[in-house]
């Protein structure tokens, strides 16, 4: 495991490069984290996914988007285009570090929305995995606002500080999305943008919802589309006092298996 800062010198990104633990493949996988409390809860799962992939011979880079984790900046200065470029930088970094020709991308929740859009703009991504994807920036915001409305603390509880502030910043479970970022992700939607330039797509979900069905219907036309339901009931955006983390093994294994199956003749 090799930690590094990479990308633009004025806004370096923190990433962890995992080298293959078995005979090396000519393929790297970039992992795109979700946002906020979901990022905290997914950290261990991403590490686990990275380790399993390295055992299968893949090179893996997991990285923090700018304004998040150890990467530079704060969310006040970030907009969607920055995160899309961060994925481009991560792909370039992995190609250079690992000297691989093929790169695939895996994204979780908001990371999946960004991964799909970043891949749509390129023609060199071998495979894309969207894991419990957020369908659109608008729906994501709606989901958070609904939770704020229905999850008001009782008089016995301390507030989480979840609110839409006067300046348009959305505060949710300890993380903030500026008005600028919120506005910029409204144009992102998986429903009207099939990443057609990516030959193989895996849409993997741990919980089936109406939104999942909508995306299946929209992406079914893609010849390389595969849908998989790997039951692992949990809530990515739950917040607790002790930093509990989620390890949905069924999904992690499903992703590894799918990537492996694609390799077989």
């Amino acid at each position: 495991m090799n930690p590094m800062f990479f990308g633009q010198s004025e806004s370096p990104l923190y990433g962890l490069y995992h080298s293959p633990q078995s005979s090396s493949r000519n393929e790297g996988v970039v992992l795109c984290y979700p946002f906020g409390q979901e990022y905290m809860r997914a950290h261990r799962a991403f590490r686990q996914l990275a380790l399993l992939l390295t055992k299968k011979g893949y090179h893996v880079l997991r990285f923090d988007f700018r304004g998040t984790g150890d990467s530079s900046g704060s969310m006040d200065d970030v907009e969607a285009e920055h995160w899309l470029r961060d994925i481009d930088d991560a792909v370039a970094e992995l190609r250079e570090t690992a000297s691989v020709d093929r790169v695939s991308v895996v994204g979780l929740r908001l990371g999946a929305l960004f991964a799909a859009h970043a891949c749509s703009r390129r023609t060199d991504i071998a495979r894309l995995v969207v894991w419990d994807p957020v369908l659109s920036g608008e729906l994501y915001e709606k989901e958070l606002l609904e939770e704020i409305a229905t999850d008001a603390p009782s008089e016995y509880e301390v507030s989480h500080g979840n609110e839409m502030a006067g300046d348009g910043t959305l505060h949710f479970n300890g993380f903030s999305m500026s008005a600028r970022f919120r506005e910029s992700i409204k144009g992102l939607s998986l429903m009207d943008s099939i990443p057609s330039s990516v030959p193989k797509l895996l849409h993997v979900v741990s919980v089936e919802t109406d939104q999942v069905s909508q995306l299946r219907a929209a992406w079914r036309a893609h010849p390389g589309y595969r849908y998989q339901y790997a039951p692992a009931p949990h809530d990515w955006n739950e917040v607790d006092d002790f930093g509990g983390i989620l390890l949905p093994q069924a999904v992690i294994q499903a992703i590894v298996n799918w990537l492996e199956a694609q390799q077989r003749p």
Partner: protein, 293 residues
């Protein structure tokens, strides 16, 4: 300010980030922020990143890292407890910063188990001149009980709710409100810290604190409303009457924030207060820190 990767130890390194100030002076103290539970070195709600960057903006070197087996640091072999390992691994990072940057004085900061590790490390390592803790070990006092029950006793709304519940049960033989579904998460996919936080006996901590004060170690102890054993500003000092803290101890109590400090207002306040305190300690400590004979 510049951030660099921290990779300490072989064959299984500890991984983190060093935040270097614009103008680095090895004579000044360095701040190390420790893991909270199993949250990786970014910290609850990015708190560790915010603290280290704010501290570096004031001219001090700062670092955050993961103990082995947590976050980005792989597990190391061994049978020692977290309490034992955390001492050695924090010392390893201090050794590294001393060797590579020339820093000789350290201020440790942490929340919850990070607060405990800061205290335990300070007891054993003389290079630690100060500790900043959030939700540290604490013990109830007689006034704690008063503060605990006061809101219940004097709030009309609570009495009304209590009486309504009683009346409802009597009048309708209602089974009462069903318990809240707190089991939305399937335990199969949910992992909680393996580190079980046990407060040592109060007398043992009092002895430890006396050792630290005798050494001139400064302490900034913060409590949140998420710590159930803490209820008023003066409780920490009152719970250790035998410890001669003098002006070495500063306590702040934030009753309206939770344990992982999700509210932006309190995040800013706590980061700012810890940073100001660290800068103050750094300026004052050379004259105050007494070497142990």
């Amino acid at each position: 300010m510049k951030e660099r990767v921290l990779k300490v130890g072989k064959p299984v390194p500890l991984i983190g980030v060093v935040t270097e100030p614009q103008a680095f002076d090895p004579e000044r103290a360095a701040v190390i922020v420790l893991n909270s539970g199993i949250m990786h070195h970014v910290g609850a709600c990015r708190l560790s990143v915010k603290i280290t960057r704010e501290v570096a903006s004031k001219g001090l070197l700062a670092a955050r890292f993961d103990y082995s087996g947590i976050g980005d640091s792989e597990p190391r072999r061994g049978t020692e407890s977290f309490e034992e390992v955390s001492l050695k691994e924090c010392a390893e990072v201090m050794d590294y910063l001393e060797r590579t940057r020339g820093v000789k004085r350290f201020i440790l900061a942490g929340l919850c188990s990070g607060a405990d590790a800061a205290y335990n490390t300070a007891l054993e390592d003389k290079r630690v001149i100060a500790i900043a803790q959030i939700d540290a070990f604490c013990y109830v006092t007689p006034r704690y009980h008063l503060e605990y029950y006061r809101p219940i006793l004097f709030r009309r709304k609570r009495w009304a709710s209590f009486l309504n519940r009683i009346w409802g049960k009597v009048a309708r033989r209602s089974p009462g409100k069903p318990p809240t579904d707190s089991a939305a998460l399937d335990p199969e996919y949910f992992e909680v810290p393996t580190y079980t936080r046990v407060f040592p006996p109060r007398e043992q901590v009092a002895r430890g604190l006396s050792r630290l004060t005798a050494r001139g170690v400064r302490m900034y102890v913060n409590f949140t409303g998420g710590e159930p054993s803490y209820r008023y500003q003066g409780q920490y000092r009152a719970s250790f009457p035998e410890v001669a803290f003098g002006d070495l101890l500063t306590v702040d109590y934030y009753p309206h924030t939770n344990h992982i400090i999700t509210q932006p207002r309190y995040q800013r306040e706590i980061v700012s207060n810890i940073t100001s305190w660290v800068v103050d300690v750094d300026e004052r400590s050379p004259a105050l820190a007494q070497p142990i004979p």
